[in-house]
């Protein structure tokens, strides 16, 4: 058993070395394939990075939105202050602003331009409002259940959750994330074709060798192996090229981003791929290389039989 494993390991080392030699023999063709894979993978990976950075930046924003509580018109100022105080103690609430009826009217006059029209009215039609800011940790779901709780207070006439633009941003990011997956799937297919084409050429270049190996009793698995190695190596190196491309772009953009961030008085900067994302990228590259090569090589080996 150990003997068999040893033999297997030895064989794989041998194949790996032979494959590297083959790659080194045709460096230009290999380099072009690797570059093509690298550029193909750079697109979805780069988009992923953009979205990842946007999500990171927007994480600090009010995901919970804000809740406006319109109070009954007969509520006294003392009762309003008492309610505001109670709501401030709710755990999900960060801050409560009180807008009295007079303040509401003044603001409305200023903002709407209907000031004169309002003068016609003999009494203030606007209710007092409590503007509730949930804590930033609160999700959109949490905000909605908070809204339900706040509606329950006697003094509250109606309540409104204003989530819109944050929700829109998140919906947009979610959409973009899906688009990355779709694009990634499509471009993975392109990588399979690129690897497949390279391997197809390699198989036809080594036709004589394959024929002789079949005559010498080489099994299909044995003959296939160097091509699978070659596919994996192309895939991994292609993924490494993707990594390099993104690193260069990040470096290229970092100056303008920090300038922009400085103007906003912010610490904003672009984050590159994390270690685990980098490893995942290489694994994906290896996997695509293996699959692309496997699909091609099986089909073409069958066609080569000694005559």
């Amino acid at each position: 058993m150990i003997q068999v494993l040893k033999r297997y390991g030895r064989h794989h080392r041998h194949v790996l070395a032979a494959t590297l030699v083959q790659l080194a023999r045709a460096p230009l063709a290999s380099a072009m394939t690797i570059a093509a894979i690298g550029i193909t993978l750079a697109l979805p990976t780069g988009l992923y990075l953009v979205i990842d950075n946007l999500q990171r930046v927007s994480r600090g924003w009010d995901t919970g939105g804000q809740i406006s509580l319109f109070l009954k018109r007969d509520a006294t100022e003392a009762a309003i202050d008492k309610l505001a105080e109670r709501i401030r103690r709710v755990r999900a609430v960060a801050r409560v602003e009180v807008v009295s009826r007079a303040q509401a009217l003044a603001e409305f006059k200023r903002m709407s331009g209907f000031g004169d029209a309002l003068n016609v009215l003999d009494r203030n039609p606007l209710p007092a409002v409590l503007v509730v800011h949930p804590t930033s940790k609160l999700s959109a779901e949490g905000s909605r259940s908070l809204l339900q709780d706040l509606r329950g207070y006697d003094l509250v006439e109606s309540a409104q959750l204003d989530l819109e633009w944050v929700q829109r941003l998140y919906a947009l990011l979610g959409l973009a994330e899906r688009a990355v997956w779709a694009l990634g799937a499509l471009l993975s297919l392109a990588v399979l074709l690129t690897v497949g084409n390279t391997i197809r050429l390699a198989v036809s270049n080594r036709r004589d060798e394959i024929e002789v190996m079949k005559l010498m009793g080489g099994t299909d698995a044995f003959i296939r192996r160097p091509f699978l190695y070659s596919g994996v190596i192309h895939g991994v190196l292609g993924a490494a090229v993707t990594w390099l491309i993104l690193a260069v772009i990040q470096w290229f953009l970092s100056d303008s981003v920090s300038e922009l961030a400085w103007s906003y008085d912010s610490e904003l900067r672009i984050e590159g791929l994390t270690v685990s994302a980098s490893v995942a990228l290489l694994v994906v590259g290896a996997f695509l290389g293996w699959v692309g090569s496997r699909l091609t090589v099986s089909r073409h080996l069958r066609a080569i039989e000694p005559t």
Binding site: Y8, R10, D208, M216, G217, F222, E305, P306
Partner: protein, 234 residues
């Protein structure tokens, strides 16, 4: 399976027809014992090469039963073919050497595909090259060798894995008579060491010199088998 213990090759009424063509082999029946040596001869197109292709499973018989080294060739699964071929050594008319690697690596190929240990590979390859007198040229690319030398590289590759059956298709087709005799001596020597040897050739001088069994093919049929006529004479 008792018969296969005695016979290396058993052909019973074997036919081979290539698609859209005449019968390349017609009703061929013969047996070859393990350790025997024989020549197949006949005019060009008589079916010598087809016979060797059937035995090495490059082609399958159209009809009839062919048993080689205990395996029924019509029934052997495609995935078993590589293991079947490992028991064979084949010397090709056109050598089939690989010119992207050294003489040494060409000869090592049958050992590499079967996963023989590196140290063992070196020993066996050098022994095989020594046998055919090419040990000093192991590092060269076969493309710089003469036709006779390339043929001997092919022979070294065919015997390096100690096959039970050695097949050769016109092994002396490209060399002069002196070299041809040297090559024949190699085959006689392998046969003395117990290897079953079947050589397809039209070189009558070689056959006469070897004093071995001769099968004559004419238009795909066995027209003469020296073993049978010897029996008849007794």
């Amino acid at each position: 399976m008792f018969a296969s213990a005695v016979h290396m090759i058993e052909f019973h009424h074997v036919f081979k027809r290539y698609p859209g063509e005449y019968d390349a082999l017609k009703n061929v029946s013969f047996k070859m014992e393990r350790g025997e040596m024989a020549f197949v001869t006949g005019h060009s197109g008589a079916g010598k090469t087809t016979l060797l292709k059937l035995i090495s499973l490059i082609e399958r018989p159209t009809r009839g039963q062919a048993i080689v080294n205990g395996k029924n060739l019509a029934k052997l699964a495609a995935r078993r073919v590589p293991y079947f071929r490992r028991e064979l050594g084949i010397v090709f008319q056109n050598f089939k050497l690989l010119f992207d690697r050294s003489v040494y690596d060409n000869v090592a190929l049958p050992l590499i595909v079967t996963g023989v240990e590196a140290r063992e590979v070196g020993k066996r390859v050098r022994a095989a090259l020594d046998k055919v007198g090419l040990l000093p040229k192991e590092r060269l690319n076969p493309v710089v060798l003469s036709g006779g030398e390339q043929q001997r590289v092919g022979i070294a590759r065919a015997i390096v894995h100690r096959p039970a059956l050695l097949l050769a298709d016109e092994p002396t087709g490209n060399v002069d008579i002196v070299l041809a005799e040297g090559i024949l001596d190699l085959f006689l020597d392998f046969n003395n060491h117990g290897v079953t040897v079947l050589i397809a050739t039209h070189d009558q001088r070689l056959i006469n010199r070897a004093h071995k069994r001769m099968l004559v093919l004419t238009h795909g049929e066995i027209a003469h088998d020296s073993a049978e006529s010897a029996q008849a004479a007794q």
